[in-house]
């Protein structure tokens, strides 16, 4: 379990983004975004609504097509990939955790079926093994084994979000995109989820891009932080450095606007 130790020594970024631009007609979705993401690293992206965070994430995940720029994953050009290849990656190596679990779960399928789907999508054909893995993952996200045959519609919001995470991580992806994963959850549930995510990142060596407007979440979860405004990156650096010694006017405003508890 020396994942993190090894990880830092690797000399290749897992994801390399250069000059990524997406326009909606005359409006800018995101413009000229560049960054590297290294194995085992958690990158936070913050900014207010409409700052281009979600556009950026959906371009990276291939849900939208970028107008300009380059994205290379593990040395492969993502934007030039065939759809077959990209969809295969998104079932195996990549994961996408939606803000609303309903967008990322099959609500009519049992918890076990939800977790097992990605396994079956990559060819698992042994019911007992699929179910065993599903139970294992439900345990890891702290969902009781006796809920394995219940549908997510019978779960609380926090459980649904944890189920979504299990469903995404079961194929051991290397890159996880999360769009406001703790949004809409009670504070106590949020804390539990943050703890879970931190443990998973540490134990599995995941690379994570987490989009949020919650600075407390990124402080606890993200190694590095990128601040976006009007579709552009205005500042990036170590998370605590950006939050404690912000350089850009917008970041200073953002940090000083947070209510102190």
């Amino acid at each position: 379990m020396t994942v993190m130790g090894k990880v830092v020594a690797t000399e290749q970024p897992l994801l390399k983004v250069e000059g990524l631009t997406k326009r909606y007609g005359p409006r800018i979705g995101c413009a000229d975004v560049s960054f590297d993401l290294w194995p085992g690293e958690v990158l936070g992206i913050v900014g207010e609504s409409g700052s281009g965070k979600s556009t950026l994430l959906s371009c990276l995940a291939g849900h939208q097509r970028a107008d300009l720029g380059r994205v290379s994953y593990d040395g492969r050009d993502v934007l030039a990939m065939s759809e077959t290849e990209r969809r295969r990656l998104s079932r195996t190596d990549w994961a996408y955790v939606h803000q609303n679990p309903r967008d990322g779960l099959r609500m009519g399928v049992s918890a076990g079926g939800n977790v097992g789907e990605r396994l079956m999508a990559v060819g698992a054909r042994h019911y007992g093994e699929i179910r065993g893995k599903a139970l294992d993952w439900l345990g890891r996200v702290e969902i009781a084994a006796d809920r394995v045959d219940d549908r997510p519609s019978a779960f609380s919001g926090g459980m649904q979000q944890r189920l979504q995470i299990a469903r995404n991580l079961v194929t051991s992806p290397r890159l996880v995109c999360m769009d406001e994963p703790t949004g809409g959850l009670d504070v106590s549930v949020q804390a539990r989820l943050l703890d879970l995510l931190r443990g998973l990142v540490r134990d599995l060596g995941l690379s994570v891009i987490i989009v949020t407007h919650d600075l407390a979440v990124v402080r606890l979860l993200a190694h590095r932080l990128m601040v976006m405004k009007s579709g552009r990156v205005v500042e990036q650096g170590l998370t605590d450095q950006v939050l404690d010694d912000p350089q850009h006017a917008y970041t200073q405003l953002l940090v000083s606007s947070v209510l102190q508890v």
């Binding site: 993190m4 690293e41 106590s188 804390a191 703890d195 606890l220 010694d245 350089q247």
Partner: protein
Amino acid sequence: MIRIENLSKSFTLHNQGGAVIPVMTGVALTVSAGECVGLTGQSGAGKSTLMRMVYGNYLTAGGRLVVGDTDVASAEPRQIIALRRHTLGYVSQFLRVVPRVPTLDVVAEPLLALGTPATEARGRAASLLKRLNIPDRLWALSPTTFSGGEQQRVNIARGFAHAYPALLLDEPTASLDAANREVVLTLIEEAKARGAAILGIFHDEGARARVCDRLVDVTGFTPKAAA
């Protein structure tokens, strides 16, 4: 182990008309392995600012700041992450943790991040908590509900869990009773003995006299214009 040359720092306050406030200039100091250097100077003179710069928490305006083989002043974020994980520990005055995480895991976390097996990491955490007189009935609880002194001791245990070659200590003995103060000072002496380079802020003069080999007054680094 820690070498600082001609370091400077200023803050630009964009929300107050872009005022630039120079806070430090010409900082120079070194801390060798096995040595403890204490920072002195009045409150507001920049002791904590300097510590935060060494940790990479504050950006530097100029100069060199080398810890181990990493120039913190010019390093990429991920190099600083690696530095903090392996080489440079920091005991701040505030405990910042994910709520709900048990104290034992909070303390074990730096070791887990290095890939230490969980049982070994928790064992080390348990022995530190025991030394620092945190009753074991509290180990399974989150430290967020603890008293100030207890939180401070959890913070120290966390900072000493991994044998960092370099350590930054910001008021490690503040708000501790005599017995616990003694434990912390012993921990510092042990760290020095195993070769750790320590840079610290100690308001407690007795503690300073006991563990510090040298003192550096940061008032000398205050820019003239602002003085």
